[in-house]
């Protein structure tokens, strides 16, 4: 299932969190050879994990990480504005309606539907929170994954070659994309929406109103 978890709530899902940071080490350090820092427990973290991002995580049947991505609003500190403005024509991308998506990661042997399920969750964020665009930093391999699942970003700029290739791109989300991702992941749109609502408490809790 998809979980939406802010950084300061990750401790409630220790296995999920640990396996996510370990899978990130595998993908970004071991496989892509990026200069990321990996701690003694084999977990990869950077400065943006420290500022309470929102993680969207595919949790497998054993409660472990199957894939994930990390969101931050572009009105605050972001990786793109701190490090990759040159790949965005020198534009500081900043708006409450544009969120940054980074560290898109898949477990070493993910269920085939994981990437599409995550992108579908990205669509829930857009619809649920009124976000219009994502700006993302991703690697060359991911670019192929995005194309395969039918959620191709608009690439603003790239840096490096081969394994070291890094891209900055933009996503919007159309109803066609949603239908395609739902079909590709075998996850119904209702199910995807249900996970989002479960995470953000759409069911009115007792207290505020109901009987005003």
């Amino acid at each position: 299932m998809i979980r939406y978890i802010y950084g300061n709530d990750l401790h409630n899902w220790p296995t999920l969190a640990r396996s996510m940071f370990q899978d990130r080490a595998t993908q970004f350090h071991d496989r892509l050879g990026w200069a990321v820092s990996v701690d003694a427990r084999g977990e990869e973290r950077d400065a943006y994990d420290a500022i309470n991002p929102l993680y969207v995580i595919w949790e497998d049947g054993a409660g472990r990480h199957g894939g994930s991505m990390r969101f931050l609003p572009t009105t605050g500190q972001t990786m793109v504005n701190d490090h990759f403005m040159d790949l965005a024509d020198g534009v500081r991308i900043e708006s409450p309606f544009i969120w940054e998506c980074t560290r898109f990661c898949l477990a070493p042997r993910p269920e085939p539907r994981t990437a599409a399920a995550l992108m579908l969750a990205g669509g829930e964020i857009m619809t649920g929170f009124g976000v219009k665009h994502f700006v993302g930093v991703f690697d060359g391999l991911m670019q192929r994954v995005y194309r395969r699942i039918g959620a191709t970003p608009d690439v603003l700029g790239t840096k490096g070659e081969g394994r070291a290739k890094l891209c900055v791109g933009l996503w919007e989300f159309s109803t066609e994309t949603r239908a395609r991702l739902s079909h590709g992941s075998g996850i119904s749109e209702a199910q995807s929406k249900g996970w989002f609502q479960q995470a953000f408490g759409d069911v009115p809790k007792q207290g505020v109103s109901r009987a005003a």
Partner: protein
């Protein structure tokens, strides 16, 4: 109960917020904004890194005093549920399950805060965190309709207040926070000249999607409501010349 009286346009309120010289000016505008949306209350609040409180709002003084006296900051589900987060939230979705929270709510309603609320947490530069909240007395459906149909305007208003508060912070370096990059200037200039989006994208050799993102960035930096207002502001501030 009146939700949204179009007496004072949102654009002119946000324009005045952007030019506010003091918190007193901002106070006046938040009252206008409350009248514009036709809600009972709006509050903007920011505690800066050095512990200074910045804000303005329309809560009755009796409630503000009560809140401080009872030290409600510790148990307020709105503060606890929004702190360091960044998605807008209806108060119904927060955790009101504890006894302290329920008593707090009863007290708030007693003091005229209203039984409904909506908050926009704001994340600004350098770890800045602020909160913009509206509250009102109405039934659930009315409130749900209001927040859904004004979602975008509420978020824009929240950020307009925050941008100005940041600029008014004493000792803040006069950085070029609102400066547009050359690429944004190009895009806004061509739009001001009457080019269509397709023509602008074509002239700049970027996709229309990329152009939409550049325009949206420029709109936010200019504190404008939409592209037309953004172009007008860029022109009137001399950021673009045609």
């Amino acid at each position: 109960m009146v939700l949204v009286a179009e007496t004072t346009s949102l654009n002119s309120i946000l324009e005045r917020v952007a030019r506010a010289d003091t918190l007193t000016d901002m106070q006046q505008e938040i009252e206008r904004l409350r009248d514009h949306f036709g809600v009972d209350h709006i509050v903007y609040h920011w505690v800066s890194s050095d512990g200074e409180q910045y804000g303005c709002g329309t809560y009755p003084m009796t409630w503000v005093e009560r809140y401080l006296e009872k030290n409600y900051l510790r148990i307020d589900p709105v503060v606890l549920g929004c702190y360091q987060r960044f998605h807008p939230v209806d108060w119904k979705r927060l955790d009101w399950s504890g006894k302290a929270a329920r008593n707090f709510l009863a007290d708030a309603i007693e003091h005229g805060v209203g039984n409904q609320g909506f908050s926009v947490p704001i994340r600004g530069p350098n770890g800045q965190y602020a909160l913009f909240s509206l509250s009102h007395n109405s039934d659930d459906d009315t409130w749900a309709d209001f927040t859904a149909s004004h979602h975008r305007d509420l978020i824009m208003a929240a950020h307009a207040f925050n941008q100005r508060a940041l600029e008014l912070e004493p000792g803040r370096a006069q950085e070029t926070a609102q400066a547009l990059s050359p690429r944004e200037v190009d895009a806004m200039t061509l739009l001001a000249l009457g080019y269509s989006r397709a023509q602008v994208a074509n002239s700049l050799s970027i996709s229309e999607h990329t152009l939409r993102v550049y325009i949206e960035s420029a709109r936010h930096k200019l504190g404008a409501l939409n592209t037309i207002h953004a172009v007008a502001r860029a022109l009137s501030r001399g950021l673009i010349v045609i």
